[in-house]
Symmetry: D2
Subunit: 140 residues, 4 copies
């Protein structure tokens, strides 16, 4: 595990919502981070599909950590704003969110994320997100 992956994994492990949702950190590279999650029985909306909140949560964390890969070691990242469009029902075996830095910056980092649903190994794009992450001093 590289230093970068270790750093992101350490922060991810402290995000208790990710554990609650069964989410796991996938690939980590400069400017891009992947997070996967099952569609747990406890993460659904009224029709039994993935709740928008689940889809947003992993999109937000993937986008935020993609931003963190390009911030100084002493930084943590928080979401300033994020907008999500839901394109298709959140159904399948699992969800994969891929975050990506579009524009790094000292004060604002512009990010996007795509979320795919996986069924029988086939991916369907179910959401796209676009937003702004900001660095904050890590409180140890």
């Amino acid at each position: 595990m590289t230093d970068l992956t270790e750093r992101i994994q350490r922060s991810f492990d402290r995000q208790s919502l990710m554990a609650t949702l069964g989410a796991t950190l996938g690939s980590v590279a400069p400017g891009t981070v992947t997070i996967s999650a099952p569609i747990l029985a406890g993460a659904r909306q009224q029709q039994g599909l993935a709740h928008a909140g689940l889809i947003f949560s992993i999109a937000d964390s993937a986008a935020g950590y993609s931003a963190l890969t390009q911030m100084p070691e002493s930084s943590e990242v928080v979401t300033a704003e994020l907008k999500i469009n839901l394109l298709a029902p959140g159904a399948g075996d699992a969800l994969i969110a891929r975050g990506r830095v579009v524009k790094p910056g000292r004060r604002l980092v512009i990010v996007t994320a795509e979320v795919h649903a996986v069924s029988d190994g086939q991916e369907t794009l179910i959401a796209i997100a676009q937003g702004t992450m900001v660095p904050v001093n890590a409180s140890r």
Copy 2:
């Protein structure tokens, strides 16, 4: 409990993510719905604050159900898109999301939501959201 409240409560009770987050349905009135949630130990980000995903989840459900109050009985509601700005750290005893219909419509319902954190009975605005809900035929 009025018919309207009963209808929203029935749908809310099927949103398993709300139970997972400990969220409860508050007031229901035509065009506006309130949802409360504690900041559970399992719903946090890396600094121990409410995860953006928790804040978004209750904002989304409150906004969606405010839209549902103005849709025909045979409809369910899904989120087409929602944008959230996070204004202040998600810290406190509980969160309250208030959804509101800005513009009803047969095809698109424009909504907003505000999320406050409550500490010692004092409310702080921590997020605002704006988006679009669409009616879908209720499955059964």
Copy 3:
């Protein structure tokens, strides 16, 4: 004219797009600014209604100047991001955009704007916007 109004008016007068669109600065108060514009023959979309670009332009300037009212004198304001929902056709005698600061801040100012169309003195809400303004050092 108060110092605050003068300061905003001076900056507004340098926004040449506002003149091109026939827009004028209305009321200015701490945290809120109003801008009006006719629907000029040269500011329309393909159906003869106000182009979304016109509606966005005055919403953006009104929101930006509402933020500037709460920034230090040495600052100028730029838009980091803005999201607009269009609710009704942009038709009528004129448009009025009202910007408002939801959350001031040293690094980010969260704003909203509402745009109404005016017909025979009657106002119709045609758009709502939500976004983020950031201070930059005034050049000279």
Copy 4:
């Protein structure tokens, strides 16, 4: 000129705001449309850069027309909502907006747009946008 290009050009020519901004229709292909514009002296903000309203206007039209390429001939397109993040100053010889359909649909078409500034033949990404277009019956 193909039938598709002709159809988009006809609608574009009726968007008077595009002429006011000096914008021209570039390439048209199924699901993607390009619009270029100079940064006219009359389309600036207070620092002499491209006004966010100019950048939004061409992003919106490019995204809208990319959606129209995938709608029935009898349709016109209107913007339901669009969110834009501004990444870099709007400075240079010209701007190019590239719209793209992410998800076609009968009721909602999800789109993105990127805007680049061109200086000495070099492109810089200055804005990204994400939103929703809806078909409406063409009023002749």
